[in-house]
């Protein structure tokens, strides 16, 4: 089976091995730790590198072609978020807050996963459309905004119902207050999620990359291109350590959420690869598009959700996104999506569904 081989060869890359190493270090209770300043800096660096790269590509290839894939990605992300919510609330029996928080964590995107994906493609000698970095930037807040909006709607509705049942006199003003407070919160959270460091550095770097082009980039390419994979390796040691520390919590999140954390990314990711291929993206582009949809956010999510939906338990969404989905995505799903995309792109889109149904599913 070629997929198993690809998974195996992916397993033996420094990125994956150092991630697993980090997990083991945490499990044997080693005091190994990448200092905070370094692990806070690395995501900024990675996003700057991704952005510059994307911007330069967009300058080379133009960005007219970007609009449709971006809109489709936004649409899919919204649909998926709603779908997650239904599954979590109805089947998983999570409460409203946890359901929305989890739904948006998986509707949002993971920048670290994206970095690993780029590195994986580089390793396979495959390129991807530069504008996918721009989709990453735009997609970041989309799922949050939807989830926050819906949560606030639900809370307002609850308050309004309470209002009707109680009668109006005394509590009225208190409720007005509650609703207006909710609105200010929403506004504030929107501002926060759009000015969050991840989006800001990513968008800024895309624009700068676009402005400077290959030539302007040459003086900094050693830092922002050649050091890229090494930097991911160092960051993944720390991510491994944190994931390892959270492994115990997996029992607490329950079997349902464990299943969710594996099946949903698989479903979303494969849909992503198919749709991207239909939209005409390249082999690598389809993989990155799929990875966007498959990934869950574990750095940006807590920062936004803790303010937006403070009632939701962060142990649920961080543990599942970082402890289960992230390892699964970079170790197993990434090679699977690559395989699917390879088959789709080699054979042309005509025989698409034939191959999928025969060879893969």
């Amino acid at each position: 089976m070629e997929i198993l081989e690809l998974i195996q060869s992916n397993l033996l890359t420094p990125i994956v091995l150092f991630f697993i190493f980090g997990i083991i270090a945490a499990r044997i209770k080693s005091d190994l730790k990448i200092p905070d300043a370094i692990s806070e800096f690395l995501p900024i660096y990675l996003l700057a590198a991704i952005g510059l790269h994307g911007g330069i590509e967009m300058r080379n290839t133009g960005f007219e072609t970007m609009l449709v894939p971006m809109l489709v990605a936004i649409g899919l992300s919204l649909v998926f978020t709603l779908n997650h919510y239904q599954i979590l609330r109805r089947i998983g029996k999570f409460n409203l807050f946890d359901s929305y928080a989890l739904a948006s964590t998986y509707g949002a995107v993971g920048a670290v996963t994206f970095s690993v994906g780029l590195s994986f493609l580089k390793n396979q000698g495959v390129t991807s459309e530069g504008y996918i970095a721009a989709i990453l930037a735009v997609l970041e807040p989309v799922a949050f905004i939807l989830a926050i909006f819906l949560t606030n709607m639900a809370v307002s509705k609850q308050i309004r119902e309470k209002k009707e049942s109680v009668g109006e006199t005394q509590v009225a003003s208190e409720i007005e207050l509650g609703i207006s407070e909710t609105k200010t919160n929403l506004k504030q959270v929107l501002h926060e999620s759009v000015t969050g460091k991840a989006i800001v550095i990513l968008l800024g770097s895309i624009i700068i990359g676009y402005l400077i082009g290959e030539e302007g980039f040459s003086s900094i390419s050693i830092v922002f291109d050649e050091l890229f994979t090494g930097a991911i390796v160092i960051f993944l040691i720390e991510m491994g350590i944190i994931a390892g520390q959270r492994l115990d919590d997996i029992k607490k999140v329950g079997m349902f959420l464990v299943g969710f954390s594996i099946l949903i990314p698989t479903f979303n990711g494969i849909i992503g690869v198919l749709v991207a291929t239909l939209l005409g993206l390249s082999l690598g582009g389809a993989v990155m598009f799929g990875l966007l949809l498959a990934s869950a956010s574990f750095i940006a999510a807590p920062a936004v959700l803790r303010h937006a939906i403070p009632q939701a338990k962060p142990s649920l969404y961080i543990t599942s996104a970082l402890g289960i989905t992230f390892p699964y995505n970079i170790i197993v799903l990434l090679p699977i999506m690559f395989m699917i995309s390879t088959v789709l792109h080699n054979e042309g889109s005509i025989d698409l569904f034939y191959y999928i149904s025969r060879g893969l599913l």
Binding site: S39, E40, I242, P302, A303, R306, H307, P310, Q311
Partner: protein
């Protein structure tokens, strides 16, 4: 030099609740405070090991006794349920009471 009695409010909470605490302070016209990152353990488990957002912060505020009640009440009411948080009050002496609301 005479020392005047005022209160020192210390709030130890998860770093993502810092904004909420400071907003409550400024709602009560308090603009002076000191903050620093800490690690900790409590009802919500070990904090400060991994990602920056998982850390704790201490917010210390010197203030007059009559402001204290309201601030403490609002912090307790709005933040105690959903956040990892501990709060305590102590007596301190300062030289310039006019600096503290």
């Amino acid at each position: 030099m005479k020392l005047y009695n005022v209160k020192l409010l210390t709030v130890t909470c998860e770093i993502l609740a810092q904004k909420n605490v400071i907003k409550i302070l400024s709602k009560h016209k308090i603009t002076g405070y000191t903050t620093y990152e800490v690690d900790g353990n409590g009802a919500r488990g070990l904090r400060g090991q991994g990602l920056k957002n998982e850390k704790n912060v201490k917010v210390e505020v010197i203030m007059q006794e009559n402001t204290l009640q309201d601030v403490v009440e609002e912090i307790a009411r709005t933040l105690f349920t959903n956040f990892a948080i501990v709060l305590y009050v102590s007596d301190v002496g300062v030289l310039r009471t006019e600096k503290f609301v």
